[in-house]
Amino acid sequence: MRRRELREGAQGLLMVLPPVAVIAVFIGFPVVAAIAYTLGRAGGPNSVVASLGQRQFIVQHGVTLDAYRDVLGNKTIHRDLWATVWVTVLATLVVVVVSWAIALYLRLADTRLARIVSGLSVVPLFIPVVIASYAMLVFYSSDGFMRSVAYHLGWHSFPTLGFTLWCVFLAEVWVNIPFGVLMMSSGLNGVPNNLIEAARDSGASMPRVVRSILLPMNVIPTVIVATFTAIYVLGSFTVPYLTGPTAPNLLGPSMSNFFSAFNQPQQAEVLAIVVFVLALGIGAVYVWANVRTGKRSAVAP
């Protein structure tokens, strides 16, 4: 019995070995090298980049956290970090709320309008991020469409959103809405009608059905949308680079600045690790939610 289990385990391991090996060689190894570099080790694979970079903190023996101190003590980076956090949190919140609302409407109303809305909500999926970013600017820059229209309607002080963090926020919402709506819709459509009807039958009003049946049954899709959106915004580059201000901006563009414009690759990699740790924290929420719901809905043996 135990031997058979062992053999089956070994077979499984053998089957996942090739992809794991590929990841280990092409992603794992560079990651390890990068971490070593941020800790002051400039030998081996890091020697080329270390020979070009400026403002490096290198040690021959052991490790040093000087590069981290340098980055985390930098006032500009504080502002970037803060910008990243609030844009991420706000965009995630808005994406979750808006996609919940749209998906709920689609679930409960089976009308032509609902079908049109459901079609429209996935349109951003088919528009490249670069195009969408420029479209945002065309709409919200100082000489953009919105301001022109507002001006003609007599509102002369319509705010310029182009090249501000607000424009970044709007563009991030635009980019992430389709995934949110698709995910929430499939989650809500997975709730059978008769579960809703049974609740109505027990005397629940429609808002109560949403709160007591649909919401708890749609936790996993909600967590997926929230975590994926947050991780996407956290690590995004194109949107903040094209539509955001010079500074402060999200950590993505700032990483790129450190790497090429300032020629400080060590600091760029430290930033990458900071972003990675934040994303890891978000990922942990996702795993925790999955485990928690998995426990209760396991089917009887």
Binding site: P192, N194, L195, E197, A198, A199, R200, D201, S202, G203, A204, S205, R208, S212, I213, P216, M217, R296, S297, A298, V299, A300
Partner: protein, 376 residues
């Protein structure tokens, strides 16, 4: 307590529109000329049904005849296009399900997977803001009523189908509805459990005396637990009667063929019996009607009398099927196939004589009756 208040409130609201009939305590549920169109088709067509208080009525009919649609109109999940639904004499036609004094047990139970058994049953009571203690007392009480005392804190996915079925029943009963609705509640259970659970349901129903509408397409189920059975076809009630009259005197050929087995022939009435195709005269003492011209004659297999010699029309035995305490024999009488249920003791034979002890005569699918019992 508060359930009562809610139900009363619901009734007062319903009393306002045209419902002059004073409250009658003997009628549980009335369906008056109800019609419903769905997808451009008339699914339920001018249906009428009255269920007495405390009575269990089965809606029996083939797939697609509108049973579920009817039940959903009683429960408030569908609003009839025409006609009225009354509960205890009060018009509830347009009332939403959360306001109606009805409770539904769904075919696949519709238990909420994220709530434990206890929470599933307690949900409706909690909505009514009852004190904690009362909620748990009433849940415990109703779970005991349906015979489910453990697994109270399990999630539905972890209990068996039969237990889930009981939870669904408990969830419906805990709100003390005036009308209990069950849509094929046993179809997901295996054959043995089905028989046991249906008897349990019947016993609970009689114990608390709740007006019940039970949808099924299984005639056995309907015949064994109902006070009355409404046989439906094409969105209408073909016959509404107790099990015995439904079986002995089916009003239409549809009911005759749907409930139980029935031999049917084109026949004319001749002195002493019926003439079947092939100029075969079969003696029959008890005809539902007489008259000229052809009838559609229906004869139950147990009303076919088979003897080895003696009177009657000649017939050849095609095969015998042992059925335990009786046997079914298939005969050829001229060009006609005859099925008969006979005593298991009847010795095997190739050629026999048959007569009918009773035959029902139909014209245009409707049972023909003479005012007095006919003897020819």
């Amino acid at each position: 307590m508060s359930t009562e208040r809610r139900l009363d409130g619901a009734q007062q609201r319903a009393e306002a529109p045209a419902s002059p009939a004073p409250e009658r305590t003997d009628v549980g549920l009335q369906i008056e000329h109800v019609s419903k169109d769905l997808g451009g088709r008339t699914i339920v067509d001018d249906m009428q049904l009255e269920v007495k208080a405390g009575e269990l009525t089965c809606l029996l009919g083939p797939s697609g005849c509108g049973k579920t649609t009817t039940l959903r109109m009683i429960g408030g999940f569908l609003i009839p296009d025409r006609g009225r639904v009354l509960i205890g004499g009060n018009d509830v036609t347009k009332m939403s399900p959360d306001k109606r004094p009805t409770a539904m047990v769904f075919q696949n139970y519709a238990l909420w997977p994220h709530m434990t058994v206890f929470k599933n049953v307690a949900f409706g009571l909690r909505l009514r803001k009852l004190p904690r203690q009362e909620v748990s007392d009433r849940v415990a009480q109703v779970l005991e009523l349906v015979g489910l005392t453990h697994h109270v804190h399990s999630y539905p996915a972890r209990i068996s189908g039969g237990e889930q079925q009981r939870v669904a029943l408990a969830r419906a009963l805990v709100l003390e509805p005036k009308v209990l609705l069950l849509d094929e509640p046993l179809s997901n259970l295996d054959a043995k459990l089905r028989v046991r659970v249906r008897e349990d349901i019947r016993e609970i129903q009689q114990r608390i005396g709740i007006t019940t509408v039970f949808v099924t397409h299984d005639q056995d189920e309907a015949l064994s637990i109902s006070d009355r059975i409404a046989v439906m076809s094409g969105g209408n009630v073909e016959q509404y009667a107790d099990a015995r009259s439904l079986y002995r005197e089916p009003e239409t050929t549809f009911v005759a063929s749907f409930v139980g087995a029935m031999n049917s022939y084109e026949a004319t009435v001749v002195p002493g019996g019926l003439e079947l195709p092939g100029k075969l005269v079969v003696p029959c003492d008890d005809l539902s009607a007489t008259g000229d011209g052809t009838f559609e004659a229906g004869v139950r297999p147990e009303d076919v009398h088979v003897s080895l010699n003696g009177d009657g029309a000649p017939a050849d035995v095609v095969r015998e099927v042992p059925r335990g305490h009786y046997k079914e024999i298939v005969l050829n009488a001229g060009p006609n196939e005859v099925r008969a249920f006979v005593s298991a003791d009847l010795p095997p034979a190739e050629h026999v004589r048959i007569s009918f002890t009773r035959a029902l005569l139909y014209r245009d699918g409707v049972l023909q009756r003479s005012s007095a019992p006919v003897s020819v």
